[in-house]
Protein backbone atom coordinates (compact mmCIF):
# COMPACT_ATOMS: atom_id res chain seq x y z
CA UNK A 1 0.00 0.00 0.00
CA UNK A 2 1.28 3.38 -0.96
CA UNK A 3 1.81 6.25 1.46
CA UNK A 4 -1.18 8.43 2.35
CA UNK A 5 -2.05 11.57 0.40
CA UNK A 6 -2.37 14.98 1.94
CA UNK A 7 -5.71 16.55 1.12
CA UNK A 8 -6.63 20.08 2.12
CA UNK A 9 -10.04 21.49 1.23
CA UNK A 10 -11.43 24.84 2.28
CA UNK A 11 -14.75 26.48 1.42
CA UNK A 12 -15.13 30.16 0.65
CA UNK A 13 -18.15 31.79 -0.94
CA UNK A 14 -19.72 28.48 -2.01
CA UNK A 15 -16.57 27.31 -3.79
CA UNK A 16 -14.39 24.60 -2.34
CA UNK A 17 -10.67 24.85 -3.07
CA UNK A 18 -9.09 21.39 -3.02
CA UNK A 19 -5.35 20.78 -2.85
CA UNK A 20 -4.02 17.25 -3.07
CA UNK A 21 -0.46 16.08 -2.61
CA UNK A 22 0.07 12.45 -3.56
CA UNK A 23 3.09 10.40 -2.60
CA UNK A 24 4.41 8.58 -5.65
CA UNK A 25 7.77 8.27 -7.44
CA UNK A 26 6.20 8.82 -10.89
CA UNK A 27 9.06 6.97 -12.59
CA UNK A 28 9.21 8.35 -16.14
CA UNK A 29 10.61 5.32 -17.97
CA UNK A 30 13.40 7.57 -19.31
CA UNK A 31 15.88 7.22 -16.46
CA UNK A 32 18.66 4.63 -16.30
CA UNK A 33 19.98 2.88 -13.22
CA UNK A 34 23.68 2.58 -12.26
CA UNK A 35 24.08 -0.40 -14.60
CA UNK A 36 22.70 1.57 -17.54
CA UNK A 37 19.42 -0.33 -17.65
CA UNK A 38 16.25 1.71 -18.24
CA UNK A 39 14.08 1.93 -15.13
CA UNK A 40 10.56 1.01 -16.29
CA UNK A 41 7.84 3.65 -16.09
CA UNK A 42 5.66 3.54 -12.97
CA UNK A 43 3.20 6.36 -12.41
CA UNK A 44 -0.26 7.25 -11.17
CA UNK A 45 -2.52 6.90 -14.21
CA UNK A 46 -6.00 7.83 -13.01
CA UNK A 47 -7.33 9.87 -10.13
CA UNK A 48 -10.92 10.35 -9.01
CA UNK A 49 -12.33 12.78 -6.48
CA UNK A 50 -15.84 12.43 -5.09
CA UNK A 51 -17.66 14.89 -2.87
CA UNK A 52 -20.74 13.59 -1.06
CA UNK A 53 -20.60 10.55 -3.37
CA UNK A 54 -20.61 12.52 -6.64
CA UNK A 55 -17.69 12.89 -9.05
CA UNK A 56 -16.19 16.37 -8.82
CA UNK A 57 -12.88 15.76 -10.57
CA UNK A 58 -11.21 13.12 -12.71
CA UNK A 59 -7.63 13.22 -13.92
CA UNK A 60 -5.44 11.04 -16.10
CA UNK A 61 -1.69 11.36 -15.73
CA UNK A 62 1.16 10.37 -17.97
CA UNK A 63 4.68 9.77 -16.66
CA UNK A 64 5.47 13.46 -17.29
CA UNK A 65 3.66 14.53 -14.12
CA UNK A 66 6.19 15.37 -11.41
CA UNK A 67 7.19 13.08 -8.58
CA UNK A 68 4.77 13.38 -5.66
CA UNK A 69 2.01 14.87 -7.85
CA UNK A 70 0.24 18.02 -6.73
CA UNK A 71 -3.26 19.02 -7.83
CA UNK A 72 -5.38 22.05 -7.15
CA UNK A 73 -8.98 22.43 -8.36
CA UNK A 74 -12.22 24.11 -7.32
CA UNK A 75 -15.82 22.95 -7.22
CA UNK A 76 -19.13 24.31 -5.96
CA UNK A 77 -19.63 22.80 -2.54
CA UNK A 78 -20.08 23.41 1.15
CA UNK A 79 -18.27 23.13 4.46
CA UNK A 80 -18.49 19.60 5.84
CA UNK A 81 -18.55 17.90 2.41
CA UNK A 82 -16.95 14.48 2.57
CA UNK A 83 -14.23 14.06 -0.04
CA UNK A 84 -12.98 10.69 -1.22
CA UNK A 85 -9.80 10.82 -3.28
CA UNK A 86 -8.52 7.67 -4.96
CA UNK A 87 -5.82 6.90 -7.48
CA UNK A 88 -4.60 3.87 -9.39
CA UNK A 89 -1.09 3.59 -10.79
CA UNK A 90 0.26 1.86 -13.87
CA UNK A 91 1.08 -1.28 -11.85
CA UNK A 92 -2.44 -1.50 -10.42
CA UNK A 93 -1.50 -0.18 -6.98
CA UNK A 94 -4.17 2.02 -5.46
CA UNK A 95 -4.74 4.37 -2.61
CA UNK A 96 -7.86 6.02 -1.23
CA UNK A 97 -7.98 8.81 1.33
CA UNK A 98 -10.82 10.80 2.82
CA UNK A 99 -11.03 14.41 3.90
CA UNK A 100 -13.68 16.79 5.16
CA UNK A 101 -14.08 20.28 3.73
CA UNK A 102 -13.24 22.88 6.36
Amino acid sequence: MADPMRVRATESGGVVDVKILMKHDMESGQRKDAAGKVIPAWFISTLNVKAQGNDVFNAQFGPAVSKDPFLNFKYKGAKGDKLIVSWIDSKGDKRTDEATVG
Binding site: N48, N58, Q60, G62, A64, S66, K67, I88
Partner: protein, 149 residues
Protein backbone atom coordinates in the same frame (compact mmCIF):
# COMPACT_ATOMS: atom_id res chain seq x y z
CA UNK B 1 -22.85 -25.07 13.67
CA UNK B 2 -19.28 -23.99 13.86
CA UNK B 3 -18.60 -24.94 10.28
CA UNK B 4 -21.64 -23.03 9.12
CA UNK B 5 -20.42 -19.96 10.92
CA UNK B 6 -17.04 -20.27 9.27
CA UNK B 7 -18.67 -20.62 5.85
CA UNK B 8 -20.69 -17.47 6.42
CA UNK B 9 -17.53 -15.63 7.37
CA UNK B 10 -15.80 -16.92 4.28
CA UNK B 11 -18.62 -15.78 1.99
CA UNK B 12 -18.90 -12.37 3.54
CA UNK B 13 -15.18 -11.91 2.98
CA UNK B 14 -15.62 -12.82 -0.71
CA UNK B 15 -18.54 -10.45 -1.10
CA UNK B 16 -16.55 -7.71 0.58
CA UNK B 17 -13.79 -8.18 -1.96
CA UNK B 18 -16.28 -8.09 -4.83
CA UNK B 19 -17.76 -4.85 -3.54
CA UNK B 20 -14.29 -3.35 -3.28
CA UNK B 21 -13.57 -4.44 -6.85
CA UNK B 22 -16.82 -2.85 -7.99
CA UNK B 23 -15.89 0.41 -6.37
CA UNK B 24 -12.55 0.45 -8.12
CA UNK B 25 -14.00 -0.04 -11.60
CA UNK B 26 -16.43 2.77 -10.90
CA UNK B 27 -13.54 5.09 -10.09
CA UNK B 28 -11.97 4.04 -13.35
CA UNK B 29 -15.06 4.89 -15.39
CA UNK B 30 -12.89 7.10 -17.56
CA UNK B 31 -10.41 4.48 -18.73
CA UNK B 32 -6.84 5.72 -19.08
CA UNK B 33 -6.44 7.03 -22.62
CA UNK B 34 -3.46 4.88 -23.61
CA UNK B 35 -3.37 6.00 -27.25
CA UNK B 36 -3.27 9.69 -26.30
CA UNK B 37 -0.57 9.25 -23.66
CA UNK B 38 1.60 7.15 -25.98
CA UNK B 39 1.43 9.71 -28.78
CA UNK B 40 4.95 11.06 -29.27
CA UNK B 41 4.29 14.39 -30.99
CA UNK B 42 1.62 17.04 -30.59
CA UNK B 43 0.03 15.88 -33.84
CA UNK B 44 -0.15 12.28 -32.58
CA UNK B 45 -2.09 13.46 -29.54
CA UNK B 46 -4.33 15.83 -31.53
CA UNK B 47 -5.22 12.92 -33.81
CA UNK B 48 -6.37 10.82 -30.84
CA UNK B 49 -8.32 13.76 -29.37
CA UNK B 50 -10.23 14.10 -32.63
CA UNK B 51 -9.28 17.50 -33.96
CA UNK B 52 -6.42 19.99 -34.00
CA UNK B 53 -7.19 22.68 -31.42
CA UNK B 54 -7.64 26.31 -32.40
CA UNK B 55 -5.79 29.09 -30.65
CA UNK B 56 -8.08 30.96 -28.28
CA UNK B 57 -7.69 33.86 -25.91
CA UNK B 58 -10.31 32.30 -23.65
CA UNK B 59 -7.87 29.63 -22.51
CA UNK B 60 -5.24 30.76 -20.01
CA UNK B 61 -2.01 28.91 -19.41
CA UNK B 62 -0.12 29.75 -16.24
CA UNK B 63 3.47 28.65 -16.52
CA UNK B 64 6.82 30.22 -15.62
CA UNK B 65 9.02 31.86 -18.29
CA UNK B 66 12.02 30.03 -16.94
CA UNK B 67 11.93 26.79 -15.00
CA UNK B 68 15.10 26.25 -13.04
CA UNK B 69 14.26 22.64 -12.40
CA UNK B 70 12.62 20.72 -15.26
CA UNK B 71 11.53 18.00 -12.85
CA UNK B 72 9.03 20.30 -11.16
CA UNK B 73 7.38 22.87 -13.42
CA UNK B 74 4.18 24.39 -12.01
CA UNK B 75 1.52 24.62 -14.72
CA UNK B 76 -2.05 25.85 -14.47
CA UNK B 77 -4.96 26.04 -16.90
CA UNK B 78 -8.12 28.05 -16.60
CA UNK B 79 -10.74 29.15 -19.07
CA UNK B 80 -13.77 31.39 -19.20
CA UNK B 81 -15.51 28.80 -21.40
CA UNK B 82 -17.67 25.98 -20.11
CA UNK B 83 -15.02 23.35 -20.63
CA UNK B 84 -15.50 19.72 -19.67
CA UNK B 85 -11.98 18.57 -20.47
CA UNK B 86 -8.56 20.12 -19.97
CA UNK B 87 -5.15 18.85 -21.05
CA UNK B 88 -1.49 19.82 -20.70
CA UNK B 89 0.95 19.04 -23.50
CA UNK B 90 4.70 19.59 -23.74
CA UNK B 91 5.93 19.71 -27.33
CA UNK B 92 9.43 18.35 -26.83
CA UNK B 93 8.79 15.73 -24.15
CA UNK B 94 9.23 12.07 -25.20
CA UNK B 95 5.43 11.80 -25.05
CA UNK B 96 3.67 15.11 -25.60
CA UNK B 97 0.63 14.61 -23.35
CA UNK B 98 1.39 15.18 -19.66
CA UNK B 99 -2.06 15.11 -18.08
CA UNK B 100 -5.77 15.23 -18.87
CA UNK B 101 -8.57 16.42 -16.61
CA UNK B 102 -12.31 15.76 -16.72
CA UNK B 103 -14.46 18.52 -15.31
CA UNK B 104 -18.03 17.59 -14.33
CA UNK B 105 -20.75 20.25 -14.03
CA UNK B 106 -20.29 22.21 -10.81
CA UNK B 107 -16.51 22.06 -10.97
CA UNK B 108 -14.62 25.08 -12.26
CA UNK B 109 -12.58 24.68 -15.46
CA UNK B 110 -9.41 25.34 -13.53
CA UNK B 111 -6.52 23.13 -12.51
CA UNK B 112 -2.96 23.51 -11.29
CA UNK B 113 -0.39 20.76 -11.19
CA UNK B 114 3.33 20.16 -11.59
CA UNK B 115 4.96 18.49 -14.58
CA UNK B 116 8.36 17.33 -15.82
CA UNK B 117 10.04 18.87 -18.84
CA UNK B 118 13.05 17.32 -20.56
CA UNK B 119 14.17 20.56 -22.22
CA UNK B 120 13.07 24.05 -23.20
CA UNK B 121 9.82 23.66 -25.07
CA UNK B 122 6.43 25.08 -25.87
CA UNK B 123 3.77 24.07 -23.34
CA UNK B 124 0.17 23.82 -24.53
CA UNK B 125 -2.97 24.22 -22.47
CA UNK B 126 -6.00 22.64 -24.09
CA UNK B 127 -9.66 23.01 -23.18
CA UNK B 128 -12.62 21.23 -24.74
CA UNK B 129 -15.84 23.25 -24.81
CA UNK B 130 -18.92 22.45 -26.92
CA UNK B 131 -17.07 19.49 -28.41
CA UNK B 132 -14.26 21.67 -29.74
CA UNK B 133 -10.66 21.80 -28.56
CA UNK B 134 -9.14 25.23 -27.97
CA UNK B 135 -5.65 26.04 -26.79
CA UNK B 136 -3.05 28.55 -25.78
CA UNK B 137 0.68 27.99 -25.58
CA UNK B 138 3.81 29.41 -24.07
CA UNK B 139 7.51 28.69 -24.24
CA UNK B 140 9.06 27.60 -20.97
CA UNK B 141 12.85 27.70 -20.77
CA UNK B 142 14.33 24.84 -18.81
CA UNK B 143 17.79 25.23 -17.34
CA UNK B 144 17.97 21.69 -15.88
CA UNK B 145 16.16 18.79 -17.58
CA UNK B 146 13.77 16.60 -15.63
CA UNK B 147 13.55 13.49 -17.77
CA UNK B 148 17.06 11.99 -17.94
CA UNK B 149 18.94 10.72 -14.91
Amino acid sequence: MNKQRRDVLKYSAVFGLMAAAGLISEAQAQAWNKAAFEGKSLDDVFKVLGSAPEKSGAVTLNAPDIAENGAVVPVGISTTLKADQLAILVEKNPSALAAMFFIPAGTEPFVTTRIKMGQTSNVYALAKADGKWLMSSKEVKVTLGGCGG
